[in-house]
Structure formats: structure tokens, C-alpha cells
Symmetry: C2
Subunit: 230 residues, 2 copies
């Protein structure tokens, strides 16, 4: 055994991180997509933001970097969780690349220059993304990320990382309905959520509506906490 392990013949793996960055825009769950252009296998194909883990970097740090560099998101606005590692031998046709996949959540607007739908490859509603073939195994990663997001919404206060600072109970419920793909009773939802004491009313109302304005709320704590939400 060599004294320094990185001198050995076992130095084969390229380690990457891929991240499914979600946000909430105009009543839709949107995902950050990048154009992948790695001929001959991938030319102008959409994919998740990803990049190699650097020698002096943890995978978590790689993802925080990716979120800023490729997502245009302020790091402190962005919540990041590790999902799973994908190590299929042929997942990258150019060679052996093992990828640590992450879920990231950021409130909209993630950056002032981000536009939807002018540049449709940047942020897309999740339903549209699933109809496309993404680069590498990113369809699989995205499916797993969405499943994880559903679980996390169910059992934690993670919705606070996706919604803006002030939101209505309608927004919150719509998010749950879209991600969990089922209708949720309005009265039961409000009763349940308010009984958890994780939201505070801001005493302000939504403006610019054509009907009765809704009360705005915020999460009491910025931290993601365990709570049985439904």
C-alpha cells in the first residue's frame, strides 16, 4: 500500500456533483436547466447544473459553488441537501464519472436577470422538463429529487426555502398540491398548518388582486424543522 493513497493505481474516479435546483414561480415548480454541450455524445442537450468536485473541496462546497455560478443564486438564499450518489459505470459516455446528486431550493426571483420564459432553457416548469431527454442520467436524478422534495415537504418546513418571504396560504397549498400531485382540502390544510405554529401572519395583504386580498404569512423560523405538515 502506498504511503499516500492518491499515488496508487486506484486513482481512477472523477467525482462530480449534479444539482436539481427548484424554485417556485407563478404557481409552478420550476427547475434550473443548463445547456450541455459535450460532443460527440451531447450537443445542445438540456441537463442539470453540474461540475467536477475540486481536490480541495467537499461535494457540498461544489454544489454551493454551482448554485452561484450556474444558477445565478445568492448562496445564502439557497438551501442544499444531499440526495444520493450515482455510480453506474457508463453514466457518462466519456469515462468514469461518479456523481453526488443534490437537491437545492431557492425562492424566486433567484437573480434579477433571470427571465422566464424568454430563455426557456434556464428555468422550466417541472412537467415540461420530464417530457425532455436530459443529458447523462439527469432524468433519473430529477425524478429522485422531486420524490425527495415531496417527502421533505410532507415532513419538514422546507417549503419556506422555496417560497418568497411573504406568501399566502393559497400559495403554500398550491405548492403542496403541485408537488404531491393531489388536491388538498383548503379548510383542513389551513387548520393543520396554523395549528403547528410555524407560520406568522404579517398583518399585510396581498395587493393587485381582482378579488378579496389574502393575508400574507411567513415562516416563524428560517431553519428547516421537522413537522408533520399534512
Amino acid at each position: 500500500m502506498p504511503k499516500n493513497i492518491s499515488d496508487s493505481h486506484l486513482k481512477f474516479a472523477v467525482l462530480a456533483a449534479d444539482v436539481a435546483i427548484f424554485s417556485w414561480y407563478d404557481g409552478e415548480l420550476v427547475v434550473r436547466l443548463m445547456e450541455v454541450d459535450r460532443p460527440p455524445h451531447f450537443t445542445h442537450v438540456p441537463g442539470l447544473p453540474g461540475g467536477l468536485v475540486r481536490p480541495k473541496e467537499t461535494a457540498d462546497e461544489t454544489v454551493r459553488r454551482l448554485v452561484v455560478e450556474k444558477g445565478g443564486i445568492e448562496a445564502r438564499e439557497c438551501h442544499v441537501e444531499q440526495l444520493k450518489t450515482y455510480s453506474a459505470v457508463d453514466r457518462d459516455p466519456r469515462g468514469r464519472v461518479v456523481s453526488v446528486a443534490y437537491l437545492a431550493l431557492a425562492p424566486w426571483p433567484v437573480a434579477p436577470f433571470d427571465k422566464l420564459p424568454e430563455n426557456p432553457v434556464e428555468w422550466q416548469p417541472i412537467e415540461k422538463v420530464f417530457k425532455q431527454k436530459l443529458a447523462y442520467d439527469h432524468n433519473t436524478i430529477l425524478r429522485d429529487a422531486l420524490a425527495s422534495l415531496g417527502e421533505r415537504l410532507r415532513y419538514t418546513t422546507i417549503a419556506g426555502k422555496l417560497l418568497p418571504n411573504a406568501f399566502t396560504l393559497f400559495d403554500l397549498r398550491l405548492l403542496y398540491e403541485k408537488v404531491l400531485k393531489r388536491p388538498i382540502d383548503k379548510r383542513n390544510f389551513i387548520k393543520k398548518i396554523l395549528s403547528l405554529n410555524i407560520l406568522k401572519p404579517l398583518g399585510r395583504k396581498e395587493t393587485g388582486r381582482k378579488a378579496r386580498p389574502a393575508e400574507l404569512y411567513a415562516f416563524v423560523s428560517k431553519k428547516v424543522e421537522l413537522a408533520s405538515m399534512l
Copy 2:
């Protein structure tokens, strides 16, 4: 960008897999430990079974190999789940090694030659292990693995992968009590578990007891299925 990515200078990471192998022996949750002997940093220190991921191998395959080679366990007897990837830059003092950690469960006896407690480093009750300093970040990995096991016991039929083919409801309840670290009411537990129709009585009784013998049960399905167990 080189044509083949593994030719590039980015080939820095050594990828390893570490596995927390649990079994159930004599009313205790036991963990498989190996002696780690990697001077100068680790000399005769206990640690989890681990090894490098080979170039033509997924991390899952590495773990299946480790379970057989280092755990003395028949692969088909062993249930394996990926936990999390640990990528701290200094987690291995000899160089950059990123480790994909796994949880593995196998019924006892895992191999005819495995002995407890004659060779105390091989299998140890979980409580004793936590009092020791393990090699690398294996204390952290083991703590996370145990937390994951608790979650999985709570929401799936994974207990069937830890217990022998025939077990009593007392055994099953004791497993839950030990892992979840709280007492569970006997009557409520039996009522709940039997109502799920995931167990079948074998029509046999436990033998060699000094009191009334208990009915033996088995899981109806060998597969791990979702079920709200408590």
C-alpha cells in the same frame, strides 16, 4: 477538454465505500467491525468494513463484494441501501478519499464461523461500539446509519431483513425498542403489526424456554415494503 475524461488532470479522487452491517443476535443490535491497520494514522483501530470502488464496479457492487468478503455474509441474505456520501477533504489522513456509505442488514447467523463474543472486534453490540473511537469518520457514519435504520424500521418492513426466518412478536418488539430507544406497549404493538397483514404465524412455537412458548412468525413477503409500522 480531453476526449476521454479519465485522461484529464481532474483524476484526483479515490472513491471508497463503507458499510455499516447490522444484525440481530441474542436480543442485541450488533455491528460488524474490522480491524483497521493503516500506520501511521490507524494502528489496530476498529472501523467499519470498507474498500475502494473498482474501475468497473458501481458503489452498490463494491458493497455487495465487501459484505461477502469482509462480512462473511451470503450476498443473497443481505439487504443493502445507500445512505450518504462523505467527502470531507481530510476524512482520510493519507489522501483524498470520498466514501459512499451504506447500510446493510443480515439475519444472524451471518456465517457459521462467526463467533460472538470470542472475537470481540468482529461483531459488537451497538452501544459498545459508540463508546469507542472508530477509524476515519466511521463514528459519524455509524451514527447516521443507526438513525436511518430507525427511520426505515418505522416506515418499512425492513425488520424482516434483520430477524431470522422465524421470530416471535417479542423479538420483533424488542428490536424496535432497542433501535428506537423507547418502550413500546406490548398489546398495542401486536394489535398494530398484526392488523397490517405483513406477518404470518408459522404454527410453530419457540422451544427451549423456561415459560410458556411463543408463537413463531415470518414476514409474508421477502421484499421490503412501505408500511407505517408504529
